[in-house]
């Protein structure tokens, strides 16, 4: 256990030989992970979300605290940031107060030494009465020693800790902290322990410190953020284009599509239509069979886009720049009842909405979680969707993204006024800038890509199958006729967009790919892409909304709120876009 962003997951990976995500910002872990010690498979080990105290303030903290309470006689490895030891010590004392056996890992030991924080570990261990081990989890330093010390884990009462303090360090009022949970007395004890065991040497700030400061100052930080976001976008476009246009389009269009069209038996039959699609199609976007468009969209378009986006996200997370973006955007998020760290679920949603919705657990109130979940599922296009947009309409993708982001903040401001509840201000830690570790970036990429391949690819293939079955059953034609007045009257798009709306239930990327087969003008294409983006969240996100809704004010409230917002957004924000188009003479 420990505060957020002290290296618990990195230490867990070292101890368990596991590969779970670790990042240089608070809130990476929102659920617990179980494994066992790499050296002894009989010993289970659990990684929990960070918590500042045993009085949880958000859902992620509750997961950690509930787990501690539910385990029978656990040995608790308290992971402390050695550069800010006093904060972690308060949590250690809380855990000791509850009678748990504890071992302390003083993590980021290297940074503490660089910053002139000199901790007398032997004295600290003597005073606390529990083993204290310096570690650098990302490098594996001290991990073996920590593991060896697990057998010596001890519990220790606060009264006995007070007794072991040197006389000159005893709290001023000479009142030993009781084990009754008085926070003020506990903080006095922390001060006394720190006074007895920690020396702070004077250090001058480094160039990296100054750079870190400049990246959060609005005057220098905002232009730099624009450069970083431009760099992200350019890299994303270049890598996605390299794989998709450079290799997968020729591979699928020139080799796979003609071969499967001629080799698959029963042209004209329902099975051929389902699996291969249009026998006369000359490109894989338009064929719309399970193994033509389905496979091409999943592997040829979305996978490269996801690869590029997840790589950039991993760099942002591990460098510590994500936390700086949070600080820079705090004022903007404040206007919609959120705080800067709402950027974390937002940025994760650009990869996939599902982890984005899960990451809202780090937000403090039900109102903030409902607000963020709703806005993410309605306005933030996932990486897969962006990849298809970039492949089909690269010249408009940036504008569509800006329009959706504008919708995020406009509807956020409205929802902030409509949804009852509080939006507390919070103080956040800004982690130091660190050089991302290639091994961790590779781990994150492989974990996330594996997740995409096993969860999203089957949905894309199934989505094509379902739409084709609905075509065969006449449902698509019936819906197109029924919805035609709304589609052409309000949105100005042809009735042929109905199959895309159906596919959008399964996967948004698939829906946009399907739009490519519809004959439309440029503005109609933009309009229909915006419609599909705002329209119903994909089934995986919808399932996640239900799951998270149970603990964020109720399923009905969350899902109902999201659906009401998307209907309003679809008609108002979509209608506004058409109005803009008519005003500019392009619609």
């Amino acid at each position: 256990m420990g505060h957020p962003n002290v290296g618990k997951s990195a230490l867990f990976n070292r101890l368990a030989g596991a590969n779970i995500s670790e990042s240089n910002y608070p809130g990476t872990t929102v659920e617990y992970t179980e494994s066992h010690l790499a050296s002894d498979e009989m010993v289970p080990i659990i990684d929990v979300p960070g918590t500042f105290s045993l009085e949880p303030n958000d859902r992620a903290e509750s997961v950690a605290v509930d787990l501690l309470h539910s385990e029978t006689d656990p040995t608790v490895i308290c992971v402390l940031d050695a550069t800010r030891i006093e904060r972690g010590l308060n949590l250690v004392l809380e855990i000791l107060e509850r009678g748990h056996e504890v071992v302390i890992a003083l993590n980021m030991w290297d940074e503490a030494q660089q910053n002139g924080v000199d901790i007398a570990t032997d004295e600290l261990a003597d005073i606390l009465g529990v083993p204290v081990m310096p570690t650098v989890a990302t490098e594996g330093v001290g991990v073996d020693e920590l593991q060896s010390s697990l057998d010596q884990a001890r519990s220790s009462s606060l009264a006995s800790i007070t007794d072991r303090l040197p006389t000159e360090s005893t709290p001023d009022d000479n009142t030993p902290a009781t084990d009754g949970g008085d926070p003020a007395a506990r903080w006095d004890l922390v001060d006394a322990i720190v006074a007895a065991t920690v020396r702070y040497q004077e250090t001058t700030p480094s160039l990296a410190d100054q750079l870190g400061r400049l990246t959060v100052a609005p005057k220098t930080g905002l232009p730099f953020a624009v450069a970083v976001l431009y760099g992200m976008w350019a890299f994303f476009s270049a890598v996605a284009g390299f794989f998709t246009d450079g290799y997968f389009v020729p591979l699928f269009d020139n080799h796979w599509l003609p071969w499967i069209q001629s080799a698959f038996p029963g042209e004209g039959g329902w099975l051929y239509f389902l699996v291969v699609g249009d026998p006369t199609a000359t490109n894989s976007f338009e064929a719309f069979g399970v193994v033509t468009s389905g496979l091409f969209v999943a592997i040829g378009v979305v996978l490269p886009a996801i690869l590029a986006l997840y790589f950039i996200l991993a760099l942002l997370e591990d460098s510590g720049y994500m936390a700086r973006l949070a600080v820079l955007l705090d004022a903007a998020f404040d206007r919609i009842g959120l705080h800067g760290y709402a950027i974390v679920p937002m940025v994760l949603s650009f990869g996939c909405n599902v982890p984005g919705v899960a990451a809202t657990r780090t937000l403090e109130t039900d109102k903030q979680r409902l607000l963020t979940m709703t806005l993410l599922s309605v306005f933030i296009p996932c990486g897969a969707q962006l990849g298809v947009m970039l492949s089909l309409i690269p010249q408009y993708t940036g504008y569509i993204l800006l329009y959706l982001l504008a919708g995020f903040f406009v509807f956020g401001a409205v929802l902030n006024r409509l949804i009852p509840g509080s939006s507390p201000e919070i103080a956040v830690d800004i982690p130091p800038l660190r050089r991302p570790r290639l091994a961790n970036v590779a781990t994150k990429l492989s974990v996330r890509l594996r997740g995409f391949i096993t969860s999203a690819v089957p949905f894309v293939l199934a989505g094509v199958g379902v739409v084709n079955l609905l075509y065969l059953g006449g449902v698509v034609d019936w819906l197109a006729t029924a919805l035609s007045p709304v589609l052409s009257g309000w949105f100005g798009v042809p009735r042929e967009t109905v199959p895309a709306l159906i596919a959008g239930f399964m996967r948004k990327d698939l829906a946009i790919a399907q739009l490519s087969a519809v004959s439309m003008g440029p503005f109609q294409t933009v309009m229909s892409v915006v419609m599909v983006s705002i329209y119903f969240p994909c089934v995986a996100t919808f399932a996640m909304l239900i799951k998270e809704g149970r603990t964020s004010g109720g399923v009905l409230r969350v899902v109902g709120g999201a659906l009401a917002t998307l209907v309003a957004a679809l008609f108002l924000w979509g209608g506004l876009l058409r109005l803009i188009g008519i005003t500019l003479g392009v619609a």
Binding site: L207, Q210, L211, R213, A238, F242, G398
Partner: protein
């Protein structure tokens, strides 16, 4: 004036002027592309407005650092930040050119070496031209690493 201050002031002025030029062309003003006068440099392509704004900001940061005095760590960090911005801009453009050039189309997996080299050859954007000069800011980092 210190030598490094004169150097980064010059880089700042160039960055600022070229940034303004790119912004002007980005918003559709009839400003000629410098490729006509300086064959190896072109101010064109997509996202010109954004790229111009980043160049302009980098130029301003160079000048701000010089104005504060480059004997101060904070000013050195400002100059370093400007160089990072030039690096991001130039890096993104070079990676895009390279990745566009590598696929050989429908017939070959990889384009000829000559084609790839030609694709990453001139004309260059101002950020790419400024990149080697911006790298000089690394000396501040290496100076700090010295005991």
């Amino acid at each position: 004036m210190r030598l490094d201050e004169a150097y980064f002031a010059t880089l700042g002025v160039i960055g600022g002027v070229v940034g303004l030029l790119a912004i002007g062309r980005g918003v559709g003003l009839a400003i000629p592309d410098p490729i006509a006068a300086v064959g190896a440099v072109t101010v064109s392509g997509t996202f010109l407005l954004w790229r111009g704004a980043i160049l302009l900001a980098a130029g301003a940061f160079y000048l701000q650092g010089v104005n504060e005095g480059l004997d101060r760590l904070n000013a050195q960090a400002t100059v370093f930040l400007a160089s990072l911005m030039i690096g991001i801009l130039a890096g993104a453009e070079l990676v895009s050119s390279l990745l566009e050039a590598i696929p050989g189309g429908a017939d070959r997996w990889v384009a000829d070496g000559g084609e790839i080299v030609a694709a990453v050859g001139p004309p260059y954007s101002p950020a790419v031209v400024m990149l080697p000069f911006a790298f000089v800011a690394i000396t501040y980092w290496s100076q700090e690493a010295e005991p």
